[in-house]
């Protein structure tokens, strides 16, 4: 009972003046996003299968990834996620993801599949997601969510990305005709020198105030990255570290919310695919150099 109350309390913070993203909506996936202030649209790694399907088109080599996240030191807010993607080829790239957030009392389960391809300087992607919400003794609700995304490399150093999740505004419940949140994100990344990646993103939930996020990723040594960033509004402060050994990458991130406290995330990525030369292979990014 105590934990039920705690969940209620934490979720109800979504109504305070400095809001928490309600439930799990709007959060990004993977420790890299977590460490850079929840930037999600701009990374062209395997986690794009969760964060912005469009960015997946720029993936250099396919692979698999897994992450575990604990929020606010409560086991009720654990999240486990998996992602997999194919190396982009003639028919583009295919990405798959699955995640589960919450505990037995309240949980959200998602599974999705998507496709993305680069056309000239821009990629676009489309994704379908099965989404299940289960709260205590109530019957589970199942939904289908459709999302779009894309990433354009305006110059070799500047990228622009955008995504819209739940474009169909799927109904969550007949009660008061409640809709699942529709969230649009748009971001810009800038790669001033090889070792530095600057990121900024705006996130707008139809029913919430817009959030501005900013992050920085710095390769302090070859294959060793430091990250930090923040999300305004809900005032998340984040940081992270990543280490890559051959085709294996380990990521760790922390995040702090002023009222709710600390969150941690850890993840592992493995690159499996072979590099293919595509028509867009000439354009380099911070990701493609890893």
């Amino acid at each position: 009972m105590k934990s039920t109350f705690r969940i209620f309390l934490l979720l109800s913070f979504s109504g305070t003046s400095f809001r928490l993203m309600a439930g799990n909506d709007g959060f990004s996936y993977g420790p890299r996003s977590m460490g850079t202030g929840q930037i999600s649209t701009l990374f062209t790694d395997v986690w794009a299968a969760h964060n912005n399907i469009g960015s997946l088109g720029w993936l250099k080599r396919g692979g698999v990834a897994a992450s575990f996240e604990n929020r606010y030191n409560s086991s009720a807010f654990n999240q486990i996620a998996f992602a997999a993607a194919t190396t982009p080829g003639k028919y583009g790239a295919f990405g798959f993801g699955a995640s589960r957030f919450g505990s037995d009392l309240f949980n959200q389960t998602r599974a999705q599949a998507g496709w993305a391809k680069v056309f000239g300087i821009a990629s676009i992607g489309i994704q379908g997601q099965w989404y299940q919400v289960q709260a205590a003794e109530f019957p589970a609700r199942n939904h289908f969510i459709l999302s779009f995304g894309g990433l354009a490399k305006l110059t070799p150093k500047v990228s622009f990305a955008a995504s819209i999740s739940n474009i169909t505004q799927t109904k969550a419940s007949d009660f008061q005709n409640e809709k699942l949140p529709t969230i649009a994100k748009a971001g810009v990344s800038y790669n001033p020198v090889k070792s530095v990646l600057l990121l900024a993103e705006v996130q707008k939930d139809l029913d919430q105030k817009a959030l501005v996020k900013a992050g920085i990723e710095y390769e302090i040594r070859t294959n060793l990255w430091l990250r930090t960033g923040f999300t305004t509004g809900i005032q998340l402060a984040t940081g992270g570290i990543a280490f890559k050994w051959r085709d294996l990458q380990l990521d760790y991130s922390v995040s702090n919310h002023p009222q709710l406290g600390w969150s941690q995330g850890i993840g592992l990525q493995m690159i499996l695919g072979k590099e293919k030369t595509t028509s867009s292979g000439a354009v380099k990014t911070a990701d493609s150099e890893k």
Binding site: F18, P192, I216, Y218
Partner: protein
């Protein structure tokens, strides 16, 4: 390419007059620096103090051949990378031959060099002491300088009018003295050798009199110092008035601290400059007595002893049981330094503060890291007992405080890490840690985290933070500066903070966030333009709330500035500045707006230079007031906070007939046609204008 050509020209020019590093040191545009370093549109800090401190710092240019890394950083101009590369350059190629050599130091771009020039010199020969005695050296030193200044408001202020008895036959308060402000400063110094000087001041309304019983000896404030450097094992010995800076300023900061501003990287780190003479007139932030720093190999040990009188209103309380026993106490320490009325004069020097400090700093010879510890005790003769309120109940009460502190810094590649942790008597703690670094050419970042408990006490602290005192605050700050083109620079910061306990105007745990962005375009050496936006959100009590319970409400304060500078030719320059602000509280209170426009017109005619400004301001209320940085006579400041509707003009004339004399004259007038009076209480003027006049004379001998 342009840079190379310019460099060649500069080299040729320097060959032409090899005998001196005679690049003329440009005039210091102090108001520009202040404007950039301080976020004046924001909090309610005492800007005048900060300004005076900055002036002090900038009035003594650093010698690039001798400057320590700390001194280089303390200019707030050089990035960590530039500091490191200049040191490396000095190590590798020896002393700089002239200021022009800066161009050959990697990562020094022209913009940086131009910014640095007013604050730096290159001395070709080491300035060692010669064999003459100290007195001879003082007598022979060539940089004696005496400044005398008088300031006066022309309109009659209420404090100077005749006091008519009220119905009870009591005379209302009036100022004792005349309306002139008088100031004089004499200083003679020789870098790394000695410094000797005195300062005296009388504020408007203070009476010049000889009255030891009232602790007035002619002028109201006197200060003097003698600093000796590099005497045997003594690195510094100071007698008289001095300041001390240690670590990140959590215990002793000497007031030099600047915080969040349009310079988001170089200002977040405090420079621990150690012992410094005090030459200013702020009657609070210094020590009086003696201090010495001894250098034993790489260990620097500093011992300080100080005893000075401070102001405070002394009251007596009677023991509740034994009515014959009464105890004196002071409700606060007053640092304004005003002794104009009978009441203010009565509280002058009514309490005695005694301070003893020992500090040790180990400095690794190559400068890679340093580590320091400090212990200090401070005692008031008469205990301080504050009027109890809910939000001050963890403040200092009593007559004795002790602090212990450890601080350190570590340099790794182009990064500098720094931190300090301190505690005070009773268990209060404060900690701050951060980094500044260069990620690549032209990209500088900073980060600071801090945690100050509500019961931490240190009277001379000024560490990084949102609030003016280092108590009851937690926060994390990010800063980024990027010169993405030789002519373009972007600067941003974001700060998130939390006040876990009640604070001023917040009757509950609160917090907020703040960010600032500034984009500067410098198309040429003679023109620049910038645009800046700042937004602060804090939880504050809802204003105009008539209910019994205060409601914390997100309160927004937004400011924007656009400023353009242009130098038309050798003798004419312009500046246009437009700035505005918006203030509002969520849940109902409508937004208030303020705006101001200023146009400057400056003439530089050789021996005479004239600066003029016309400003116009229109604000809805005091919350949207406009701070305008104005030029003033050397070592004086002027940052009026303008609100309401009106105009402000000033004109400043500097005449330098020869090397020995400089004369300044300044007149400034605020005109508010809708107002019947200006100012409040004893400062009130029964007119819709206020005119201030300043005359200053400097004699170099």
């Amino acid at each position: 390419m342009m840079k190379r050509i310019l460099f060649l020209l500069l080299v040729l020019a320097s060959v032409g007059k090899m005998n001196a590093q005679t690049y003329p040191r440009p005039e210091i545009q102090v108001e520009d620096f202040i404007e950039k370093l301080f976020n004046l549109q924001s909090s309610d800090a005492n800007y005048e103090d900060l300004y005076e401190q900055m002036l002090l710092l900038y009035s003594n240019p650093i010698d690039l051949n001798n400057a320590t890394p700390e001194e280089l950083r303390n200019t707030y101009i050089l990035s960590e990378q530039q500091v490191q590369q200049l040191l490396r350059h000095r190590q590798k190629t020896g002393r700089l031959l002239s200021i022009y050599e800066l161009q050959s130091v990697p990562s020094f771009d022209l913009q940086t060099i131009y910014s640095l020039l007013p604050f730096a010199v290159v001395n070709e020969v080491p300035q060692n002491q010669d064999n003459k005695g100290l007195l001879t050296r003082i007598r022979e030193a060539s940089n004696n300088s005496l400044i005398v200044r008088t300031t006066r408001t022309l309109e009659e202020q209420k404090g100077y009018t005749d006091a008519l008895p009220d119905p009870d036959g009591e005379l209302p308060k009036r100022y004792l003295g005349d309306k002139n402000k008088l100031f004089a400063r004499y200083r003679i110094n020789h870098t790394k050798d000695f410094s000797l000087g005195f300062t005296t001041e009388k504020d408007p309304g203070e009476k010049v009199m000889w009255s030891p019983s009232q602790k007035v000896y002619g002028m109201d404030f006197w200060s003097a110092h003698l600093l000796l450097e590099n005497r045997g094992i003594f690195k510094k010995i100071v007698f008289g008035d001095y300041q001390f800076m240690f670590g990140q300023g959590l215990v002793y900061s000497a007031g030099f601290a600047v915080g969040k501003g349009a310079e988001p990287v170089n200002t977040v780190r405090r420079s621990s400059l150690g012992l410094r003479p005090y030459t200013s007139v702020l009657e609070g932030m210094f020590f009086r007595g003696a201090g010495a720093t001894m250098a034993v190999k790489n260990l620097e040990i500093t011992v300080l002893a100080s005893q000075k009188f401070v102001d405070g209103n002394i009251q007596s309380s009677t023991d509740t049981l034994d009515t014959d026993v009464s105890e004196d106490f002071a409700s606060s320490i007053n640092i304004t330094g005003f002794h104009r009325t009978q009441t203010e004069l009565a509280s002058k020097h009514s309490n005695k503060e005694t301070m003893l400090t020992v500090a040790a700093v180990y400095k690794e010879p190559t400068g890679r890291y340093e580590f320091g510890v400090l212990g200090t005790t401070l005692k008031y003769e008469i205990p301080i007992i504050r009027r109890p309120s809910i939000y001050n109940q963890f403040d200092f009460n009593g007559n004795q405080n002790q602090n212990l502190s450890v601080s350190g810094q570590y340099n790794y590649q182009n990064f500098s890490f720094f931190g300090e942790a301190a505690m005070s008597k009773g268990g209060g703690h404060a900690a701050v840690a951060g980094l500044v670094g260069s990620l690549g050419r032209g990209i500088d970042v900073s980060m600071v985290v801090r945690d100050y408990s509500r019961d931490y006490h240190a009277f001379y602290s000024n560490g990084f933070g949102e609030a003016t005192r280092n108590v009851n605050e937690q926060g994390i700050y990010w800063g980024l500066k990027y010169r993405f083109h030789p002519k373009w620079q972007a600067a941003v910061y974001y700060d998130r903070f939390r006040f876990p306990y009640l604070s001023f105007q917040s009757d509950g745990p609160s917090g907020g966030q703040e960010y600032l962005g500034r984009l500067t375009y410098t198309p040429s050496k003679t023109a620049s333009i910038f645009i800046q936006y700042r937004d602060e959100t804090k939880l504050r009590n809802l204003s105009g709330n008539t209910g019994k319970t205060d409601i914390l409400t997100p309160t927004h304060r937004q400011n924007w500035v656009i400023q353009a500078d242009a130098k038309a030719n050798t003798w004419l320059s312009f500046r246009t500045r437009v700035q505005g602000s918006r203030w509002y509280q969520e849940r109902g209170v409508p937004a208030r707006y303020g705006i101001s426009l200023s146009q400057d017109l400056n003439f530089d005619l050789g021996k005479v230079s004239i600066s003029n400004r016309f400003s116009l301001f229109d604000t809805d209320d005091y919350n949207t007031r406009q701070y305008l940085y104005e030029k003033n006579v050397l070592y004086a400041f002027s940052i009026p906070a303008l609100y309401g509707r009106g105009t402000r003009v000033y004109s400043l004339i500097q005449y330098s007939p020869n090397r020995k004399f400089d004369i300044w004259f300044r007149i400034a007038r605020t005109f508010q046609k809708d107002q019947k009076t200006i100012g409040s209480a004893l400062e009130e003027i029964n007119a819709n204008h206020k005119t201030d006049v300043v005359v200053q004379l400097r004699y170099n001998f």
